[in-house]
């Protein structure tokens, strides 16, 4: 694995008509890294990928591949390969011819092509399928052909545009693991575009969360989940309770927030704020606790609540409680005890204490 950056995007803008599909994005993708761009459709992740591939050229800003600007280099001159969402296998060629195509274009000697095609098919566990036509293969097999066709060229960077989107859930999970293992083995930088947060969290070394053309946060899966830097990221990754309010008091690393209706909360700061700022307190449902007894050592955030709804989903019980007036708050309890005793679970209408430590609540801006 080489040091340094495989891809650098410096203040990149891509404008389509009146819309900035990619809006001043700066990100650095390290060599050998599994990097994901995650966001809802229309967030600019696919456009960013297409600019790295060379299918689109940036309106402004610079893209560097291994330190060399490639802004307007055509795709066929970049040592970057793509796995397309639709796989884009050539239907009139056999699997082996598909995989050989890139090497043929680079005028690799015949004998080498045969050997490398065999190796590539072997790597994706498709040895012996070389003579088949793509349409004779299942979706998962076609996907692996697309991978082999890209990887056989030994690209500096492999781009994957929602490649698992068309597969069913079980196959998708298998492919997630297989992709990650493949990436570790070949040591090539993977840039993976997805709207599926679980997929991104499972596979990535680092993730860029994107929205409306901007990269909101770039970090490891843990950083993105545990320390989101804004409301959108906290909301998009996993689930969270949001309580809107204004900063009424600040102390080292934490803030006191009032919702204007009698509720006062304390939470951890992730960025500098001033008194009066409008903010959201974000609490993940699994990071809040619900108890019948009042905690002996009352934490900063403790409220008396009424259970509104209970969903038993096997591994967890998900409880909606009424916090203050007209506000529902979601708490997840892991079912660590094996019991069918009705009393072991929360019931609708029960009273209880909802609480969480200060560090489990994050104070976020919109």
């Amino acid at each position: 694995m080489k040091d340094g950056y495989a891809i650098e995007m410096r203040d990149v803008v891509k404008r389509f008509g009146e819309v900035n599909a990619v809006d001043h994005v700066t990100m650095e993708i390290r060599n050998g890294e599994f990097f994901s761009m995650l966001g809802p459709s229309g967030c600019g992740k696919t456009t960013s990928l297409r600019m790295i591939a060379g299918f689109e050229y940036p309106t402004a800003g610079e893209i560097l591949l291994n330190g060399t600007p490639i802004g307007t280099t055509p795709p066929f001159q970049r040592n970057v390969n793509t796995v397309f969402q639709s796989y884009a296998l050539f239907p009139h060629m056999s699997v082996a011819e598909n995989v050989a195509f890139g090497l043929e274009m680079k005028k690799v000697p015949r004998a080498d092509i045969t050997r490398r095609v065999d190796e590539a098919l072997d790597m994706v566990r498709l040895s012996g399928y070389g003579e088949r036509r793509p349409r004779q293969l299942s979706g998962g097999q076609q996907q692996r052909v697309a991978l082999a066709r890209a990887l056989v060229n030994r690209p500096d960077v492999l781009l994957l545009d929602e490649p698992l989107g068309a597969l069913d859930l079980k196959l998708r999970k298998e492919m997630q693991i297989e992709l990650k293992r493949l990436q570790e083995r070949v040591g090539i930088t993977f840039i993976f575009v997805t709207h599926d947060q679980e997929e991104a969290l499972t596979m990535s070394d680092r993730i860029a969360v994107m929205s409306e053309g901007k990269a909101l946060q770039i970090g490891t899966p843990t950083e993105i989940y545990e320390r989101p830097n804004c409301r959108f990221v906290a909301d998009f990754i996993g689930e969270s309770n949001f309580i809107r309010g204004r900063v009424s008091d600040l102390s080292a690393g934490s803030a006191t927030i009032s919702d204007g209706a009698g509720l006062t909360l304390r939470g951890q700061l992730v960025q500098p704020l001033t008194v009066g700022d409008e903010v959201y307190v974000s609490v993940r449902p699994e990071k809040a606790r619900l108890s019948v007894q009042r905690p002996a050592d009352p934490p900063a955030n403790m409220f008396q609540v009424t259970v509104d709804r209970v969903s038993y989903i096997g591994s967890d019980t998900r409880i909606m409680v009424q916090l203050g007036q007209d506000r529902l708050f979601s708490v997840w309890e892991q079912n660590t005890r094996s019991t069918v005793d009705r009393d072991a679970y929360w019931q609708r209408g029960e009273q209880g204490y909802l609480w969480w430590p200060v560090e489990n609540a994050l104070v976020l801006k919109d």
Binding site: G54, F76, F84, R149, N153
Partner: protein, 301 residues
């Protein structure tokens, strides 16, 4: 238990399937009859007459003498007039097809890449000439190409010498290409419309420049349209006699002109020779088309 019932049920089944077969056959025949009748009366029978005539001897008054001969075929393969007509017809057919292809493919590609609204407008424009009778449109070309026609008047007005345009092979080609172009554009359009342009991005991604991406990916995958268009243009072109008559004068004889002359205009008419000519013509076309389909669509099968 099964040994007991099997023979009975088998016998029954056979009787049943026979009954079904009988009624099925009746239905099948009833359904096929109109088509079969049509084909035999208007295709098989005339073809048979032509086949028969081609081996008979022409009489002095345009009649047919019932005497077997291979002379008609011998004449076709030895007399320059006929050999040249075959060569010229095929050559004009190939030229027309190639030029239609070279204009039609980029045109179809251009239309596919427009927005849906513009696409419909452009397709409509391609079809508009069909609203006017083909003969009228060919006469229009006569007016354009004539010695004191539109082009020559223009040339004269800017002080250039007149050109002989009408009654040349070139004029025939222009007329044919103009008339046949839509038949090339439409099948190719349909083919390109079904083409997944992501494949071109994939080719480019794998190191193919535009030329190679086109030759290796797009052309093979749109070949069915190219093949269909070529056949639709080639066959009617080779048998043309109106365009060559009007725009070529009597100077550009194609097969169709000779056929027409042998059957109706020459004195006396020579049906046996005409029949032989028509048969050879059919044979050559069939072989050419089979060969063409073999070479163009093999990869896709």
């Amino acid at each position: 238990m099964t040994t007991d019932t099997a023979p009975i049920s088998e016998a029954r089944q056979q009787a049943l399937s026979k009954a079904i077969n009988r009624s099925e056959r009746g239905r099948l025949f009833a359904l096929l009859f109109p088509g079969l009748f049509w084909l035999s009366v208007f295709f098989a029978f005339p073809l048979f007459v032509i086949l028969l005539y081609s081996f008979l001897t022409p009489g002095p008054t345009g009649n047919v003498i019932w005497k077997f001969t291979l002379g008609n075929y011998a004449t076709l393969f030895t007399k320059d007039l006929y050999v040249n007509a075959y060569v010229r017809s095929l050559w004009i057919g190939v030229m027309t097809t190639v030029v239609c292809l070279l204009i039609g493919y980029p045109l179809a590609l251009y239309i596919v890449q427009r927005s849906p609204r513009w696409r419909n407008v452009l397709l409509f424009l391609v079809l508009i000439p069909f609203w006017t009778n083909f003969l009228v449109r060919t006469y229009a070309w006569m007016i354009i190409l004539a010695n004191n026609g539109v082009i020559n008047s223009l040339l004269q007005s800017i002080g250039m010498p007149r050109l002989t345009l009408l009654n040349t092979t070139g004029a025939v080609l222009v007329g044919l290409i103009y008339g046949e172009l839509p038949f090339m554009v439409l099948p190719i359009y349909a083919s390109i419309d079904r083409f997944d342009f992501t494949l071109l991005e994939a080719a480019s991604d794998l190191g193919a420049d535009r030329r190679r991406a086109f030759l290796r990916i797009m052309l093979p995958l749109t070949m069915p349209g190219v093949a269909a268009g070529s056949v639709l243009v080639f066959i009617p072109t080779v048998g043309q006699f109106v365009v060559s008559d009007l725009l070529g004068g009597a100077k550009v004889d194609m097969l169709g002109n000779l056929l027409q002359r042998l059957f109706t205009r020459s004195n006396p008419p020579n049906w046996p020779l005409g029949s032989a000519m028509a048969l050879i013509f059919m044979l050559v076309l069939t072989i050419a088309i089979i060969f063409y389909f073999r070479t163009t669509t093999e990869e896709d099968r």
